[in-house]
Structure formats: structure tokens, C-alpha cells
């Protein structure tokens, strides 16, 4: 009888144990924040209205994880909060032709006009505060422009396909970026639709492609790209010859952009040519091709 009581109490205790466990609260963790740094992004463009070359330099500040911010919609479409814009800076571009000062056209957006492009030369960017203190600088090579030997847009089944051929100078090492710009007004799916999520994930990857000499076959690269354009869309394809350093930067940026990387990817170190800063100062000339689907 005693044994039966002991066994019964024992097994009842097991059941009680099932409901007695506790889960402790998570502990906070303080991380030593990074001090703010200037972030540089640049883009070289040709303004057809004024028929001159423009260098656009966007300056922002980095922020520590403990600092919050909310991206906003603004006229530039860049959605940079005001508190992160690096304003009232003196931004100068130094070339062999002289020094050109970039004018601030919007908070943190600086533009230099009449940039003379010198293939093979270097350009130096300096950023100073209003009081003249040097904040950061960078040196980058000026890259020659390049163009497709052929490009076309064709409808294949229920999507659009861009085809292009790019020739490479096999006597030197080169790096390229091809950007695709297209609006997709047809796909207005819901975030509760897994198929819509999957399509959005793939569109994120379709923004630009990177190529090196290894991708060329006897100096020629032929690509056929599904860009999924809708019937009414215009497609803009831009090709640029870029520096190795900027190629490495875009490679890392593209890796981080994937959803899988943000969940479980390995830590990344973004390359930079900005001394005391982040981002990348690049001086390459994109060649734009505007293709229409009709």
C-alpha cells in the first residue's frame, strides 16, 4: 500500500512539474555606440537640358543603434530624415583642371556642374565643415564611359526580356555595373499573398548586376534578363565601367540587400574610400538606354 502511495504521489509530482517551469525575462544589452560619421554617395550624370556633366554628391551622417529615425518621403525621393542630412558643408572636387565647388541644392545634396572628365586621371573629394575643418576626403579614378554594342527589349510569354551585348577591353581589368529601372504598375498584390512576397524578393535582386572580366567570353558579354515589366512601363538600362573598389562596395551592398542575409547572414564590412567616413565616392559615367514596351 505504501509503495502504491509513493508511486502515485511521485507520478503526480511529475505532472505538477510540467506546469511549474518558468521562463525568465530577457536581459537588456548595452552596446557601445559608434560615433557619427559622414556618409558619402556620389553619382555622375549628364544633364541634357543644360547639356553639361553633373556630379551629384549626397552627404548624410551615420547614427548609432540607440538613436532612432524615421525615413520620410521627400521631393528627392531619397527619404532621408532631416536630422541625418549633412548640410552647410563645403564640398570640393579637385582634378588636374582645378578645384570645383559643389553647390548645395537641397539639404545634404551637393551638385557640381561643368565637370570636365579626364580619362585615367583621379578626382579628389574634400568635405569641410562651415568653419573650414576638414571632415573627410576621398580619391577615386575617373572611369571612361562604356556602351552596349546591342540592346533590345522583347516580350517573351508573359514577361519582358532585355537583351544586350557588352564588349570588354581584354588588355586590362575592368568592372561593370548594369542598372535596371522599371516601374511595375500591374502587380498590386497583397502582403498576405506568399507569391507576392516571393516576387518582391526577386525584384529586389533585379535592380543591378555586377560583372567582371571573368564573366566575358573572348571579350564579349551577352545577357538576356527577365525584368518582368508590365505593358505600360518604360525600361531604362544604364551601363557603367566602375573602379574595382566601387565594384567591391556594390557587391557587399547587394549581398546585404537580400532578406536572407538580414536574417542570418554573416557580418559585413562595407568597403569605403572615405577617410574618416563611410560610403563610397565614385566617378563613373553611366550610359543610359531608354526602352519602351510598345
Amino acid at each position: 500500500m505504501k509503495k502504491i502511495i509513493i508511486l502515485t504521489v511521485g507520478f503526480l509530482s511529475m505532472i505538477i512539474c510540467l506546469f511549474s517551469s518558468c521562463t525568465p525575462e530577457p536581459l537588456p544589452l548595452k552596446i557601445a555606440d559608434s560615433s557619427p560619421k559622414v556618409v558619402v554617395a556620389s553619382q555622375f550624370a549628364f544633364d541634357s537640358s543644360s547639356n553639361q556633366n553633373l556630379l551629384i554628391v549626397i552627404l548624410t551622417r551615420s547614427l548609432a543603434v540607440g538613436n532612432g529615425f524615421t525615413p520620410i518621403a521627400d521631393s528627392s525621393g531619397l527619404n532621408i530624415p532631416d536630422e541625418l542630412r549633412f548640410t552647410n558643408a563645403t564640398v570640393e572636387v579637385h582634378t588636374s583642371s582645378g578645384v570645383i565647388t559643389c553647390a548645395e541644392v537641397d539639404g545634404g545634396v551637393y551638385v557640381a556642374t561643368n565637370i570636365s572628365f579626364e580619362a585615367g586621371a583621379t578626382a579628389k573629394l574634400t568635405i569641410k565643415q562651415a568653419d573650414g575643418t576638414l571632415v573627410a576626403d576621398a580619391i577615386t579614378p575617373m572611369m571612361t564611359s562604356t556602351s552596349f554594342s546591342m540592346i533590345s527589349l522583347a516580350r517573351v510569354s508573359n514577361f519582358y526580356e532585355v537583351s544586350y551585348i557588352l564588349d570588354d577591353n581584354t588588355k586590362e581589368k575592368n568592372w561593370y555595373v548594369v542598372n535596371y529601372f522599371t516601374g511595375n504598375t500591374r502587380d498590386s498584390g497583397s502582403v498576405t499573398d506568399p507569391g507576392y512576397i516571393a516576387r518582391k524578393l526577386t525584384e529586389q535582386k533585379a535592380e543591378f548586376d555586377l560583372f567582371t572580366d571573368k564573366d566575358f567570353n573572348n571579350g564579349t558579354l551577352a545577357v538576356r534578363k527577365n525584368i518582368g515589366a508590365s505593358v505600360l512601363d518604360t525600361v531604362v538600362v544604364a551601363v557603367s565601367s566602375i573602379s574595382e573598389g566601387y565594384f567591391n562596395f556594390l557587391t557587399v551592398q547587394k549581398r546585404y540587400g537580400s532578406l536572407i542575409n538580414q536574417i542570418r547572414g554573416e557580418a559585413l564590412t562595407f568597403p569605403t574610400n572615405i577617410s574618416n567616413g563611410l560610403g563610397y565616392f565614385t566617378f563613373h559615367q553611366p550610359k543610359l538606354y531608354i526602352l519602351t514596351t510598345d
Binding site: 555606440d33 548624410t60 532612432g68 549581398r255
Partner: protein
């Protein structure tokens, strides 16, 4: 000249014939199970050895002498040997609980250098998660063994990674020694007879891993009668049956374990659709008086089944992962009694398959590794001063890192893949000798010549081993050791997590075999019922392997392009203090250590600390025998926090299409941030039935993490509505009480 030669031959024959060879087998007096690692030594301290994995010993005495047999937890037996003899020694078990090393430090014959024999009775009294006895959790109490995340069964030994431990079950390698993502170990403690653990001073018999050897042997079965033992707990239950096949001809063992974690969580209105089961079997056949055949089998699986029909997407996820291990061993005693040979053939496989999907979209990912191996070891007792081991082993590794089958929308995100099966042929020749220079000094030395052949090439390494054991005084021993180790199979884990789905690969044309040089110095001192051991080590490592920065695809088709190799170094000092005083016993393990890596392609080429560089690691085990049948024990674990690479800031850059902005992370130095320390107290009380009862039972009541303190398991990043990021340290287990019931008859 001819007379001179004959004279020398006569002298040599005298010296050979003067030695007395004593051999035999040592068994447990009650169960008949052979005992492994029994110290065998003469009263004059001029000769000594230990019993091997089959309970067999061979000793050459320079002259007639008393021979003693001593073993932890058993009464010492002595016999006077005056002529060549073969014995069957039966040792009686004592009922003492945690014991110090019973021997005096001066008896260096009794101590297998650098090898720690795990006290399985202590293992049975340790409090653990859910009351499930866990061999690996016991190993984690030893200094020098860092645990991964708290509650898991990973072992990071002296700066090494989790895949750098050679884990053997009846001489077959084990790839994943855990169940349920590392929470439970693969070893069913009801069937374990003997387990040793080594972190330095390796014999040349062992190779293929850099950091440690955990050598586990299953019971063979009771030679006298059928025995049944088992246990019922809150998370799992087990049953084992063993006994004789026929008198003096063989024994058998079968055991099974089944967990119902998923049902338990269902009852608690929580979801964890995970359970495991495993099965052990062993047959021991005595073919002749000199030949023995042993067959061992292990099969186990972790199963996950979830089918959320009520969810928006009708998601289902199923997985199955587990080990299958088989070994056949043939032992042969030569007629000269001085030689003993063992031939082992084994097959060890680890595989997983994960299937998931929603609506008509499915993905199936699988991976497998399958080893076939052969190993031959010849033990040779040459004379009273010299003992030799020679041998060879060869393993064919057959592995398929990844196979991915997709349907539906998954084709847009992932890609189908079916890796070809890869092969790596690993082999080694080794020789090892133990030479007694004099009464105080023993020299262990060996050489292992190892290599691996793969498609397109091969790699080779020479691995010298050296260990000097000096009896400094009657109470103290000094050991100095060196071992070079090479590893040809490795497991790739991300820098932030270790998962059982991490893949195993072999070295290739562009991937060099990781190597390590392990230098150790230790000092042991024993007095009365206490023992102190202090050990220092220094361990430089070469060709260590990590993923490159930014890697996303953890199943890369081009492995060499995804990984990078670099150097590492680990050093530290370890203290072990144990003893008994009346009814009270204790075991204290403490280590102070550093572990670094340097890779050209990581952390900007700067040196960084490893993820589990726990500067201080302290374990204290206390036991108190209240009554003969009632015992309480407590384990306190304190360890410095593990490390991780934090995001310390963010910056904005135009995205590729220049009409939106990417928010990009700024990472701090690799592993530059540290989590909170592990600080945990577990308690256990065991109440046994009377020893005289035929039906033996034992109740165990206890609690894991008594103070319900958060033991950091992972870091969670929380994105707040104002854009701030906050870090939280999340624990895995809180306060978990348990009750379990063990029985045997």
C-alpha cells in the same frame, strides 16, 4: 668471436626468460562486465599497465612480485605472481558516491596520463534539464571544456570549435552527439560502461580531430542473468535489457529511449512539435578462449512535425535528423600472451531531411555523411619497461552536402540543387610506445602519419606525440606533453549560431587541413582524500576555417570561394580540485583562458577573440550523503559571457536604382561584444530503495536553474517604432523542476 657471440646470446636469453608475463581479464564481480582502465601495478612500482577496452591486461614482471588491481569505485585486489599466469580478476563494487582518486599520486602506473575517466555514478546524481542524465553535460563540468549556449551539449575545448572533438561510441565516430538541437545528448547512460575524456597528451592512436577525444564504450551485458533497468521522466523514458546468450559464450544488450517533449508542451498549451528516439544494441560473442567478437548498433532520430492548418498559409514543416552507427570488433589474444590485437570495422552516418511548404509551394533540403572505416591496433607488452602499440586505420567518407528540391514560388527565390556525392579517403599509420625509464619517469611517445586523398589531390601530415610523466615525490606528479593534430573533415557553422544542420565537408585542393600543436604542462598532488591538479596549455592552430564576410548561401556549391582560412591560438590554465570528507564530496573545476583568431579576410585582418572565449569558467559540484539511501547534490556553474558581433550603427546609401535608400549596418569588431555571464544553480535529491531489495528503484527530485536567472542563449534585435534598435539577451531555460524514477531488477 664465435664464443663471444654465443656468450651474448646466452646473456640475452637469461634477461628475457627472467621476466614473468602475467595476463588476464578484469571484470565486475556482480555483472561480469569487463572493466576498462583498471590500474595494474606491482608493489615494487617497477611495472604497471591499465586494462584495455576489453578488460584485458598484459604485464611483464622483472621478478616475482605482488600485483594490485585498483579501480575507481571498486575494492582493490592483490595477487602474488611468481610464474607466468593468466587470471580472471573480479572486482567488487563499493557503494561510495563521488570519490576522489583513491590512489596516491605516486602510483603513476594507475593514472593513464592526461586521460580523465568520467565517474558514471557522479553522472547519475547530477541535476540536468528535465532530469535526463547527460554524459556531455558531465564533460562540460571539466575545466577546459567551454559550453556553447547554456543548456546545449556543444563542447568547445581549449579554443577549438564544436567539430574538433573526436567522439567515439564503441570505436565508431559520432558526428552529431546530441538530440533536439543540442539540448540532450545521444548517449543513453543506462548502456554506458566506460567513458574517458582527453584534451592533451594524445596517444598516436587517435587522430582526425584537433581538440579532444571522448571515448565511450557500451555495456556488453550481464554474464550471469537477465537484467532490466529503465527510467521514467517528465521529458523522456527509457528501458534497457541485458543478459547472457549462453553460459560463458556471449551476452547481449538492447535499449531504447523515447521522448515526448511534443506531448508535454501540448499539455502546457505551448508548441514544440519535436521529439526524439534512439535504440542501442550490442552482442558480445566469445568465439574461442582467445577470440571475441562484438557487434554494436546505434540508431536515433530527431523528428519535427508541424502542420498548421489553421494558419493563413497552411504552412507545414517536417524534419528528421539522426545518426546510424554500427561497429564490429574482433579481439584476438596471441599465444605468447604478450600481444593483443583488435580489428574494428564500422559504419557511421549522419543525415537530415527538412521538408516544408505552404499551399502548393514546397521545398525539401537534405544532407548526408556516411563513413566506412577499418582500424587495426596491436598491443605488445615487450618487456617490463616497454609497451608498444602499432596500428593503421582507413576511413572512406562519403558525403553529399546538399540536395534541394523546389516547387512553386520557391523556384523564384532558391534554386534546385543536387550535389554530386563526394569522397574523401582518410588513412593513418601509427606507432606508440610507453617506456619506463626508471621508477619515477615514464616516457610516452608516438608518431602518427596521416593523410587524405580526394578528387584532384591529397594532403599528408606527420603528427608526433610526446608525454613525459615524472613522479616528483610520493604525492606529486609532473606531466609535460606535446601533440600535433590534423583534421581532414570539418563542419561549417555561421559565426552567430551552431546548428545540427551545419554541413560537414572534406578538405579539397584549395582547402588545407586544419592543424594544431598542443603543449601541456600539469602538476598533480594528492593527499589523504583530496587531489589537486593544475594544468597549463598553449595551442597554436593553423588553417582554421570560417565563412567569408557577408556569406548568405550556407550550402555553397563552390566551397573554397565561400570560406577563408586563418590562424588561431589558445592558452590558459586549468585547476581541478576534488575530495571527500566523511559524507561530503566536492569537485571544483576552474579555467582561466584566452582564445584568438586572425584571418586576412575577416575583421580587416585584425586579431579577434573567438565567440566562446569565456575568460573564466567555474563549476562546483557538491554532494552530501544525508543517509545511506538519501543524497543531495548541487551544481553551480559560472562562466563569462560568450561573444558576438554587434551592429553598432547604421548609415544610408542610395540603392542600386537610385530612387530609394538602403539602410546599411555598421558592424563592430568581430565578437567585440559580450553577453552576460552564465550563473546557474541546479539541485538534485535522490532517494534509493534498500540495497538488499531485488527490485532496486530510485526517485530523483530536482530543479534546473533554481533562481530562474536568464542564461543568455542568443541575442535578439528589436526594431522599435522610432527607428531605434535595442538588443536583448534571451535565455533558453528558466526554472525547470523535475521528478524522475529509475528502476532495475
Amino acid at each position: 668471436m664465435k664464443r663471444l657471440i654465443l656468450f651474448f646470446l646466452f646473456i640475452i636469453s637469461l634477461s628475457v626468460s627472467a621476466e614473468i608475463t602475467v595476463t588476464g581479464t578484469i571484470t565486475d564481480a556482480t555483472s561480469g562486465e569487463v572493466l576498462i582502465g583498471v590500474s595494474v601495478f606491482t608493489s615494487s612500482r617497477k611495472a604497471g599497465t591499465v586494462s584495455n577496452a576489453y578488460g584485458y591486461f598484459s604485464l611483464k614482471l622483472p621478478s616475482p612480485d605482488s600485483v594490485y588491481f585498483t579501480y575507481l569505485g571498486y575494492e582493490t585486489v592483490g595477487v602474488f605472481v611468481k610464474e607466468e599466469s593468466e587470471y580472471t580478476i573480479k572486482l567488487k563494487s563499493t557503494i561510495k558516491q563521488l570519490q576522489t582518486v583513491e590512489i596516491k599520486a605516486g602510483d603513476i602506473n594507475k593514472v593513464k596520463p592526461s586521460v580523465i575517466t568520467l565517474d558514471l555514478r557522479l553522472l547519475n546524481e547530477l541535476p540536468t534539464v528535465g532530469g535526463e542524465r547527460d554524459l556531455i553535460k558531465a564533460v562540460q563540468l571539466l575545466p577546459g571544456v567551454k559550453k556553447g549556449a547554456d543548456g546545449t551539449a556543444s563542447m568547445l575545448v581549449r579554443g577549438g570549435t564544436n567539430d574538433q572533438n573526436l567522439i567515439l561510441l564503441d570505436d565508431a565516430p559520432v558526428y552529431n552527439p546530441t538530440h533536439l538541437l543540442g539540448i540532450f545528448s545521444l548517449f543513453n547512460t543506462d548502456v554506458i560502461k566506460h567513458a574517458t575524456f582527453q584534451t592533451g597528451g594524445f596517444s598516436s592512436m587517435y587522430g582526425g580531430r584537433l581538440s579532444s577525444v571522448l571515448d565511450v564504450y557500451m555495456n556488453e551485458g550481464n554474464t550471469d542473468k537477465l537484467k532490466v533497468r529503465g527510467g521514467i521522466g517528465v521529458l523522456a523514458s527509457r528501458l534497457a535489457i541485458d543478459g547472457p546468450i549462453s553460459k560463458n559464450r556471449g551476452t547481449f544488450l538492447v535499449a531504447g529511449r523515447y521522448s515526448y517533449v511534443n506531448r508535454v508542451f501540448e499539455m502546457m498549451n505551448k508548441s514544440l512539435p519535436f521529439y526524439f528516439y534512439d535504440f542501442n544494441a550490442k552482442v558480445n560473442l566469445r568465439l574461442t578462449d582467445n577470440d571475441q567478437l562484438l557487434l554494436s548498433i546505434y540508431e536515433g532520430d530527431d523528428v519535427l512535425n508541424t502542420n498548421d492548418k489553421d494558419s493563413l498559409f497552411n504552412v507545414n514543416l517536417n524534419s528528421r535528423m539522426g545518426n546510424g552507427i554500427r561497429s564490429i570488433r574482433w579481439n584476438h589474444k596471441f599465444k605468447n600472451r604478450a600481444m593483443f590485437a583488435n580489428l574494428t570495422a564500422f559504419n557511421s552516418k549522419y543525415r537530415y531531411i527538412i521538408q516544408g511548404g505552404f499551399n502548393k509551394n514546397t521545398v525539401e533540403v537534405s544532407s548526408a555523411i556516411n563513413d566506412y572505416g577499418l582500424k587495426y591496433v596491436l598491443n605488445h607488452s615487450v618487456n617490463s619497461k616497454l609497451f608498444m602499440k602499432y596500428g593503421a586505420d582507413v576511413i572512406m567518407h562519403q558525403f553529399k552536402p546538399n540536395s534541394t528540391k523546389l516547387s512553386g514560388e520557391f523556384n523564384n527565390v532558391l534554386r534546385n540543387r543536387n550535389d554530386t556525392t563526394q569522397y574523401l579517403y582518410e588513412s593513418a599509420l601509427f606507432i606508440h610506445q610507453m617506456y619506463r625509464i626508471n621508477q619515477r619517469l615514464i616516457l610516452h611517445s608516438g608518431l602518427r602519419f596521416s593523410g587524405a586523398k580526394y578528387y584532384g589531390g591529397n594532403q599528408w601530415n606527420i603528427e608526433p606525440r610526446l608525454l613525459m610523466v615524472y613522479q616528483y615525490s610520493s604525492k606529486a606528479t609532473l606531466q609535460i606533453g606535446y601533440a600535433r593534430m590534423a583534421q581532414y573533415m570539418f563542419q561549417l557553422s555561421g559565426s552567430s549560431t551552431i546548428l545540427p544542420t551545419d554541413l560537414w565537408y572534406g578538405v579539397q585542393q584549395n582547402i588545407k587541413a586544419p592543424t594544431a600543436d598542443v603543449f601541456t604542462v600539469s602538476y598533480e598532488y594528492a593527499w589523504q582524500h583530496h587531489q589537486t591538479k593544475i594544468e597549463g596549455y598553449y595551442k597554436p592552430m593553423q588553417n582554421q576555417i570560417e565563412y567569408k564576410e557577408g556569406v548568405v548561401d550556407f550550402t555553397p556549391a563552390d566551397l573554397a570561394a565561400t570560406i577563408t582560412q586563418g590562424k588561431g591560438v589558445a592558452y590558459g590554465i586549468e585547476l581541478t580540485q576534488k575530495g571527500t570528507h566523511q559524507q561530503f564530496s566536492y569537485l571544483l573545476g576552474y579555467s582561466l583562458s584566452w582564445s584568438y583568431r586572425r584571418f586576412d579576410e575577416l575583421n580587416n585582418g585584425n586579431v579577434f577573440l573567438t565567440r566562446f572565449d569565456r575568460r573564466h569558467d567555474l563549476n562546483l559540484v557538491l554532494q552530501y550523503e544525508v543517509l545511506k539511501r538519501l543524497q543531495i547534490s548541487a551544481v553551480w556553474n559560472y562562466a563569462s559571457g560568450s561573444r558576438f558581433t554587434p551592429v553598432i550603427g547604421r548609415f544610408m546609401m542610395p540603392s542600386g536604382n537610385l530612387n530609394s535608400v538602403d539602410v546599411l549596418p555598421i558592424y563592430g569588431g568581430r565578437n567585440s561584444s559580450q553577453l552576460a555571464a552564465i550563473n546557474r544553480l541546479d539541485i538534485n535529491m535522490s532517494l534509493k530503495s534498500k540495497a538488499s531489495n531485488k527490485f532496486q528503484s530510485e526517485w530523483q527530485i530536482g530543479a534546473y536553474n533554481v533562481f530562474n536567472r536568464t542564461q543568455p542563449f542568443r541575442v535578439r534585435m528589436e526594431n522599435r517604432s522610432n527607428g531605434q534598435i535595442a538588443y536583448k539577451q534571451v535565455g533558453l531555460f528558466g526554472f525547470i523542476p523535475y521528478v524522475s524514477y529509475q528502476f532495475q531488477f
